[in-house]
Amino acid sequence: MAELDETGRKLTLKLVYYGPALSGKTTNLMRLHDLLFPDLKGEIMALETQNDRTLFFDLLPLGFRTHADFLIKLKIYTVPGQVVHDSTRKAVLSRADGVVFVADSQLSQGVNNAESFQNLEENVRRVGLDFDTLPIVVQFNKRDLPNILSEEEIRRRWSAAPWTLVMASALTGAGVRETFVKLLEAAYPIMDKNFSLGDAHAMDMQSFINAVTGESIGKTD
């Protein structure tokens, strides 16, 4: 859950990129670092092994100050996708305010995607979050590769699911920002309800998204 620090005048949100190994979670984070221009942007902290596989997590801190000089921080994490790191995934996932599930579009990855999504559902429940209300966006990554599931097929398969689907290619940056904005859109109503962003901070959804992405008011894409 988001952290509200009244004395430090600070609100911290936690967003998590989840998904099977090598589906492009860290690449998403690196593109976000390049594509977003909030007032405050930290460096990516990567806790990886020598062969660039995420060991514990990657972290991208973003933030901005409201008109009333209230600091809103977003901590964007990736989990390690490899199956063995389940305890780490659970720890990273705990108290998340929103999740992007990064699926691998390649035909060969269907089983890995399904197992990872099931693992997400289990871990969400284990860390005490509500899977039915947790904001989730599903990104199908690697659209630039051959031998991938068609978008039509993906949308047909996921037609019964309630989550927003975004096609992306993290390597080229396509869909990365859109995915993130969809997650902000899903997460904002809950934040607003809990911390009255609109009333107390004069921050409606559009201005919240603009502040995080660094867009000028009235332009989102």
Partner: protein
Amino acid sequence: MEKRTDAYDRALSLRELFSGVMPDKLSAALTVLLGAPTRVVSADGAWVMGNIPPLSGNIRQVPLSHDLEIVGHLETSTNDEARVRAIEEILGSLMRSGARYFMASEMHIKVVQTDYEELQRKHAELSISEARYKALAENLEQRVKEQVQTIESAHLQLYQAEKMASVGQLASGVAHEINNPIGFIRSNLSTAQFYVQKFRSVAEQVASSGNSTLLAAWQTADLDFVLKDFPSLLQESVEGADRVARIVSDLKKFSTVDQSEDEIVDLNDNIRSACNVAASQINSHAELKLTLGELPPLLCKAGHLNQAFLNLLLNAVQAMEERGEIRIQSGVENNQIVIRISDTGRGISPEVLPRIFDPFYTTRDVGSGTGLGLTVCRDIFTAHGGNIEVESKLNVGTTFTIHLPLKREKP
């Protein structure tokens, strides 16, 4: 609210961020690099790297940021902007490196702890399941032994029953074969008795005829004696034939072991029939006293009950060390048929008593008994919904009490 955050996720103080460096040496190096007195102070002023006292003179404060927030200041009197930027960069890198170590170690601790708890939980589960399997394995041998014993005893009982059935078949065959000749022997003996009567009527006429030749021949052949003795000979033969017929009838009745159909009988008849079959052995060892009360007709496997009664009777006979008494009582008590078979034999010792119904338990010499007699008896009464109890006193005697329900529950 801050303390609710996971350890790896929490805001770090300047002191924590610099926990990997030697404060004295870094402070000294900063002073050398900037060419002027320099110190690093936390945002709230509570922590000073290397405990350097406040600087005097024209001091500028450069904010140090970590994780989007100002965590401290670089205080220095230099005006060399380029050097200050460079130092700011170096300190930023050191802090990121410190934070990276801090977060990694906190995450490591958390993961190890979670995994350890999971391992302990699994270990506990495994211990329980191991204990269960151990207990199973320990019992297994015992249970296999019991099963084998059950199968063996069932097998031997079946064998015994088969044996009894074939003996029964043989007996009923023999009985059938004897029945016919004994029938005409008996009939002919009656006719012969009638004929002897006729001879008698002639005898008086011969005596009063005065024919001396005839009288002499009569006397020489001693026909007076013959006529006197003949009827009693025939009468004895008739009795003998009747006895044979009765034994045959009992044998027939008794040999219905192979008939597994239920029939309605008066159990007193079955007891008498068993007594007749065992009569010769009973008579040579004991007096038999029957006190048979009136019994309602009982639906049962009569052949099996006969076999059980005979077994008990023969046991009673064998218990006799000197000539004694065997008593059989029957009657109805508490809506049950109760039959008591008592003997004045040597009795059964208290050690042996609890085991007498066990299969293969025998006190007789090896080869002289299978040790199944009483087991079979008990099974027969149990199969009829009843039971058998035993009381015994050494050198006084033994009483078997049989209870049978008037109406058998359908199994």
